[in-house]
């Protein structure tokens, strides 16, 4: 076997190891050249929040190439939706990003309501806005708690989960579930709030505010976290926009793109809140944006509770069979970023076609641009700070 054949064979083997995704360049074997090492991270690595696989090409300890391999959790949610009544699809929409279930179902119901031309009562819209923000806090607590865990700090996640428990109990009392709420309905909500909810909500809000401050003291001032995350994984605004990132990742890079502000849905036009933006776009900024966004969510919830009008929780006259005609694209701000539902209807109750633009998918796409040039120990810090849910990547 001559050298070229051998090189070809070894590149084939390398390609197999990589999952066949990369173009392999065979390095000419010079006297001092070292071989590059291929390292598979995942699909089970805990830092990837599920089953994301990242194929790394290493030169010593420096990453020269990185490619995320996705699709291990593909559940064909978009296709399944084509065979179900739009009201049944809500259950599927709960599940692609399982830690921001309410925000997902909100986006979907808004899309269906716009297609079918259904007006939603004011009270339902205020309650929806409030629950979307509660769910945002839940999701952000999850990520700001698990991020230090990935960096090696065990404690913060227990604090985060203590707060989550409180909020989940609150949401359970109204929606009936801790995770997959299924509280939205086309034309309103499943049911009105139970008696005593607002009182309990105010208590939980006060407690959450206090504890978010406490949580911030616990992790944001920590020298080790600061050293591990400051100036690590820099993402310039241009790159962030070019790869279509959104949510905390984009805000940390200094771009305040937020559908809640740009094209308000539900009652976001009537509440006052800030979109916190970072300055540098490093891992520390991304974590900081999460904490600040939680504080803003608390402000929105307070305004929603104060301004909740009396009224119906569901539109009184709803069609027995939905008729969805035409097409609509709804952008909502999920905890992880921009969530888009593109729905095409052909006059039936099932959507003719559904395309989801999920935040995690676009956020993960920036990994190949961010990782090259960084060290392997920083990999976990960077991957964790992109904030994605694999179910949301693969749908």
């Amino acid at each position: 076997m001559d050298t070229r054949e051998a090189a070809f064979e070894s590149s084939q083997v390398a390609s197999m190891i990589r999952g066949g995704g990369l173009d392999v360049e065979v390095m000419p074997s010079g006297e001092f050249s070292t071989e590059e090492m291929i390292l598979n991270i995942g699909p089970q690595h805990p830092s990837t929040h599920g089953v994301l696989r990242v194929v790394l090409e290493l030169d010593g300890e420096v990453i020269t190439k990185a490619e995320p391999v996705i699709g291990y959790m593909h559940r064909a949610a978009e296709k399944l939706a084509e065979y179900r009544d739009a009201r049944q699809v809500l259950v599927l929409m709960n599940r692609h990003d399982w830690i921001s279930a309410f925000n997902n179902e909100l986006g979907w119901t808004i899309a269906v309501e716009r297609l079918a031309g259904i007006e939603v009562p004011d009270r339902a819209q205020w309650i929806r806005t409030m629950f979307a923000e509660w769910n945002r806090i839940l999701s952000h607590l999850m990520f700001s708690g698990s991020y230090p865990l990935e960096l090696g700090a065990m404690t913060p996640i227990f604090y985060a989960f203590r707060e989550r428990e409180m909020i989940q109990d609150l949401m359970e009392s109204a929606t009936g579930a801790r995770m997959h709420h299924s509280y939205c309905r086309v034309g309103g909500l499943k049911d009105d709030l139970p008696r005593g909810f607002l009182k309990r909500s105010a208590e939980v809000l006060a407690e959450t505010r206090k504890r978010i401050g406490e949580f911030e003291t616990l992790i944001m001032g920590n020298e080790i976290i600061y050293a591990r995350t400051r100036d690590v994984g820099l993402l310039p605004a241009e790159t962030a926009i070019a790869f279509g990132t959104s949510g905390p990742v984009l805000h940390a890079s200094g771009v305040a793109m937020d559908p809640r502000k740009d094209e308000p849905y539900e009652k976001y036009a009537e509440v006052e809140f800030d979109v916190p933006v970072g300055t540098k776009g490093d891992c520390y900024d991304r974590l900081w944006v999460l904490i600040e966004r939680m504080k803003e969510s608390c402000n929105i919830i307070e305004q929603c509770m104060d301004r909740l009008p009396p009224g119906e929780f569901r539109a009184p006259k709803l069609p027995k069979t939905l008729k969805m005609d035409g097409e609509v694209y709804v952008r909502t701000e999920n905890p992880l970023g921009l969530m888009g539902y593109y729905v095409v209807g052909d006059g039936k109750k099932q959507p003719y076609r559904l395309k989801m633009r999920t935040a995690s998918f676009s956020n993960v796409s920036v990994i190949p641009a961010m990782l090259p040039g960084t060290l392997v120990p920083d990999l976990i810090a960077i991957l964790g700070s992109i904030f994605f849910v694999v179910g949301d990547v693969d749908r």
Partner: protein, 167 residues
């Protein structure tokens, strides 16, 4: 808008963080001792679906609306002559009503579409099994769950109940 704290002096952040840890250490634990202490679940909790068989008219609405078709219904028609005479009436009689909880997504659509109040949510959740077949609850078992159903909560101030809720 809040500004990020830029000034870093060694050890201060650690000390502040540890003060939170110390404060929490002195507080009572929040852990619920689950198997010994049962959680206090709200009435709306979607734990298990209960069937009141007497209310079921075998309209198949629940099994049709279920997003993953996990409700199995078998029925047959019986004709009987009314006591006062007249033509024979036919009525559907339920033979089998089963919910496969291994498949159920706990969305609650079946409970909502049931026109005759035959299905209810119960907050019971301890029905895990070692065998997946046992997760299919037949109508006798579903009937038993009705004894654990809690009355629906009163609504918050300002809420306008639907006609169904008001009656």
């Amino acid at each position: 808008m809040a500004e990020q704290t830029r000034k870093r002096s060694t050890g201060l952040g650690l000390a502040k963080g540890l003060s939170v840890t110390l404060k929490t250490m002195l507080q009572p634990a929040v852990t619920q001792q689950y198997p010994r202490v049962k959680p206090d679940l709200p009435p709306r909790t979607r734990g298990v679906i209960a069937l009141k068989e007497a209310n079921c008219t075998v309209c198949y609405k629940c099994s049709r609306e279920c997003p993953d078709w996990c409700i199995y219904i078998d029925a047959h028609k019986e004709t009987h002559d009314p006591a006062g005479g007249g033509r024979a009436r036919s009525a559907k009689v339920l033979d089998r009503f089963a919910i496969d909880y291994a498949l159920c997504m706990y969305c609650g659509i079946c409970v909502e579409v049931c026109p005759f109040d035959a299905l209810f949510w119960s907050p019971e959740f301890e029905y895990g099994e070692y065998d997946i077949d046992l997760m299919t609850h037949e109508k006798e078992r579903l009937e038993e769950w009705t004894y654990t159903v809690l009355p629906p909560p009163a609504l918050e101030d300002g809420a306008v109940p639907t006609e169904e809720q008001a009656s």
